[in-house]
Symmetry: D2
Subunit: 383 residues, 4 copies
């Protein structure tokens, strides 16, 4: 079977550059039925030496140091944006205008206002696009979606989710620079809200529908950190922690929390959803397990089931090994890439699109505004 | 050793009447060093037949059907109030005025205003008193307090707690009447806020200090239920669910949730506290275990420890069996009774006193007001 | 309702003396329907001062220092044997001959030969009797029995069980004397085999039927310990660890292990049973939970269920609190006492009887003989 | 940096052919420092159509249908054997004689006798070699090795391990043929002993030293299955379950069990090791977690630690993502390939070598002989 190559131009070679690249390299091995197949055509970053080293290591055919040149190249079909958040908009808009497919790391942008022209450009260009809210495609999370969609839970009462980390507790940690731009509000646009809660919100709305209004609080525990750009102590602009409750459109209540000051948790993304008949729980630290409670089980035998999501009839798992053998974090990106290409074949959008990711952006922004104003805010989400 | 008997007059023979009575009957066996020992002198309830049956079963020496008579009896040293919440104030005030010791089931009252004269009467009479926030005295919870007090955690960033149940999901359940007065706002004063969140708040402030201000939301999922008193559908006045975030006085952030609509959870009271150096987690369904993470452990060996709190050097556990053998829910009441009597010996107050329980009442009320007004509320707590 | 008092004469006031006494004191409160009710008539032990203190603390009406006198007393209906194992036979036989009911702590005796005349005497006298293999009556274990008996599991393939402790790792621990007679082979008859594996074996045969033959190994890690009687180092006669595999009569395979050298486990009694359709797991450290896997659950939703055994329709739990609130170790004794009295009312034996406990003794002995001879041994069990 | 390509010739394209191939394709991306790098030169299997499809999917440069031709090719540096067990010896010996490096899937062979000439040929040829006991290189397992080697545990008392599956419970499953050769004794040499216990034994001896003698039992629950080669019911020659206990050379006791009839367990490989000062537990279903109990922790804070092995200072984890983000089963093969190449650079053997795998074979064989003869057997292991 001859496959059509989609020539990828990647911008950024950080943590996300690696996860996306790995996904492109593996998707063909495990999804052999795909008619489209990515080709690592070029990677772009400002530091020439480093970008060449990255290209060497991962097998990109060429490098660029100016993303505008990358976008202009005829031999690039798709632009993948793995830069700090402050660069997303400009690149995405240019890429769309150049007629490229656009794949963008989350969050879509630093603000609703910044994201709007991105969505407009994408829609106007009509190019295939997706935003890497990768956690949807962890098999256990996808299984949760299946169970909810098959109405196993009945009427929903509660959704709660948090994303807990502990890596910024030390005041010695600077803001800005490689790996640390997430602490610099100019680069990131927000702290845990855009970085972590955005995942919780995307998953929540995917599973439980739109969020109507929110009431939030944020905190910046460490007020000043040295900025790597200046070497001087500067005020920290990001939110170190963010908590909010909300109404979903279906009448259920949401409770969300994120922080980088929860000692003992590295990347503990969790969610739980409680319905009339059943409930579901999941967490990223034990990502192959889905907890499921079904009240319809016989009374004396009822209990939370720990579903080890490794069987061939569970989402994506026919692609991998045999029952009982788990996959990891990185596979969620492989699944998203596979779905992107499969949708491309079928002429369908690959969710979450820029438009959908914009709705998550709206919730993030309402959350930050609510915290600032100490009042409830409507989200204006269209779900 | 001759012991002095404290003659107990119990009001109410429901679920809490049983737990308190059991505590009185067991405390002498397991705390033989106590100089005071309870005597089951009288139990009081309106239904004569039932109160006699209860007295027979548990060994109360006499019965009353009018609590005022009980309070007036010379042969009663202590009044224990296990009635629905709407009766707490009147009985407690009368008992204090009669010079009795007063032990009261939580929550103290239906409101801050109702609680204030109770505290005043108790303080004026100077009688020994305590409020049964029993969960403090589950050994694992007491151990958490020890670890926090010995400053193992360092600066605190987060406290989160919830209390999840699922027993009122059916709309067929009536409000009012035996066992169901908790669904009747007149009797209970609130729904999950006073019944469940009050526990979370008491534990939270005990472990982490005062709560300054709160922002809350509540929901009543089932708007009308048949009232057992009238046989007619009436509006439901209680909160079925309540969520809030808050600031503690020490600068940490709190997140609280309670509901009776979380399918799969019978009585899942949980808390977690995150400090600079360590974190602690606990839940009532696995009440003998305390989870503890210490960042000072060697890097490659760090992990959440599951401490099985059954050893003789852990709180209260020298009184019971041998390492590895667990105790249960009811023992928390035995411990509170033991501490009450021990403090009595030593002329000390037994925390939580009425005064302290009043602070928890203030938070509950601020929470309900915040939800109603959709705004932040100060708690006016003195901790 | 007038109740008939069964006047208890307890021999021994150690750990087991406490658990049995507590059971007698509580059973009436929680099982009010019983027509028989225990009365703490006398406690017997050689040390007069201590036995008086115990009687005072727990409320025994009288004391004896010679068990023969206790057995002869007319005002005693039932003898409860909580002595070291080497005293079981003599006391039980005398008690039976005196026409007393006999309740005996496990193991029945130190050997099959020692146990046989006990069974004979009991049978000849026709007195009500039971042996305290208390773990059968932990609600989660009883629920396991219900599930197995209702044929939820289908054909059984495997049963595995262990009992792991870590309290004798130090070579400084002496053998003999109070609390340490379990390390003295003369008093105990064996080490972990009679003390711990006997529980595993009793539970196993109760749940899965008779054990046919065994192949075992034992080890004594610490060969010499100071004996408290002599103050001198003496050879250790007990088994510190014992492992065996076996055939059950139903064709399933058994795997058993016990040790006091498993660092990190205080009293970790576990069992698991695997059947064609379902499996069950349980452990004593989390005694309120039963793990249950049912292959008949829909394929994508299958998982081990963690059943929190605290609901009123689960075994014994209607007697205690409300759903979600757990009981502990001591309650298993209350249940056995309640069942003993209920059976007494109905004129039925209370399992495990002396005769049944003798079968467990046979397995223990076959295990020890197998280890000694390094060969398979038949058990001669009649189940 | 220019890298030297090691041209791989793979024999067999089943489950293991996939895991090895994936490892070769990924190792360069994640271990960029390696000087040797695998090249997918040829894959060999009898079915031409299928082997071509496999080569297409995974990117092998060429195919063969006769393994002898593959072994003779000059453009092949290393032969990787992923065939059923009955082919291992012949291919390995020929490959060694042809001077190829040899990588072989476990178990080494069907018997000690069959394995001996393999080891001889490898040793005589002096070619680099390794056997894929991949589980050693799951980071949590490697961390266990580090903790043991740093003497954290002190004197070892117990090692227990099992490998539980449930995929052959149906009597409808045939023996022989693709994916089912493991049920055919001619192809496999044994049942769970060579397939599953071999993993337990390899890990056990790696962590805890040599096994001296064993006492075992086996069972074949389903006596006859249709053979796919003949379409007829034939006697089943494999062991469906195998249990054994043993002495390690260090004086500790071992307990092992494997079965394919443990309903609810897909691939539950577990081990636990108990030492004087500390204990360790692990299982394959939660492969990123290592449980560790350290008795030196302060008494009241002691507990089993659940170490989430995802940090950069834990084995292999600097190669992958960021703390908290887990990897999966397949990565253990990537690690073994990386170690093979690193050792190649350094001129060192890559454990387990053929010689070491032969020792595991000896234990397997002693186990099967013990079960057959119902007696203890020495293993003759040299560790």
């Amino acid at each position: 079977m001859s496959k059509k190559e989609i020539r990828i131009g990647l911008v950024g070679y950080g943590f996300m550059g690696r996860t996306h690249t790995n996904a492109y390299k593996r998707v063909g091995d495990f999804f052999p039925e795909l008619k489209f197949i990515p080709k690592l055509q070029a990677v772009c970053a400002r530091n020439e030496e480093r970008v060449k080293a990255f290209a060497d290591q991962w097998g990109y055919a060429s490098v660029e140091t100016d993303w505008r040149k990358l976008v202009e190249r005829d031999d690039i079909d798709a632009i993948d944006i793995c830069t700090p958040n402050n660069m997303h908009a400009e690149i995405a808009i240019a890429a769309a205008q150049a007629g490229k497919m656009v794949l963008c790391e989350k969050p879509l942008a630093r603000s609703v206002a910044e994201a709007q022209p991105m969505v407009d450009a994408i829609e106007k260009a009509g190019v295939p696009n997706t935003v890497y809210f990768n956690y949807r495609r962890i098999p256990a999370v996808t299984l949760a979606k299946q169970l909810i969609d098959s109405n196993k839970l009945g009427k929903i009462f509660h959704f709660r989710s948090n994303f807990l980390q502990d890596w910024t507790i030390s005041p010695e940690l600077p803001q800005g620079g490689e790996g640390l731009w997430r602490l610099d509000n100019d680069a990131a646009g927000s702290g845990v809200t855009g970085d972590l809660l955005a995942h919780c919100i995307d998953t929540a709305m995917w599973l439980n529908g739109g969020i109507k209004d929110v009431s939030a609080m944020t905190e910046t525990f460490i007020k000043e950190r040295v900025h790597t750009a200046t070497g001087e102590k500067q005020q920290v602009g990001i939110d170190d922690a963010c908590l909010f409750h909300c109404h979903f459109e279906n009448g259920s209540l949401g409770l969300f929390e994120s922080t980088r000051y929860a000692r003992g948790h590295k990347a503990l993304f969790t969610f739980e959803i409680n319905g009339e008949h059943a409930s579901i729980k999941w967490n990223l630290h034990d990502l192959s397990r889905l907890a499921y409670f079904d009240h319809r089980d016989a009374s004396i035998e009822r209990g939370w089931r720990s579903i080890h999501v490794t069987d061939g009839d569970q989402p994506y798992m026919d692609k991998w090994w045999v029952p009982g053998l788990s996959i990891g974090y990185e596979h969620s990106f492989v699944h998203q890439v596979a779905d992107f290409f499969k949708n491309l074949e079928e002429g369908k959008p690959c969710s979450p699109t820029f438009k959908e990711a914009h709705q998550t952006q709206k919730v993030c922004e309402a959350v930050l505004e609510s915290a600032k104003s100490k009042s409830w805010k409507n989200t204006h989400v269209e779900w």
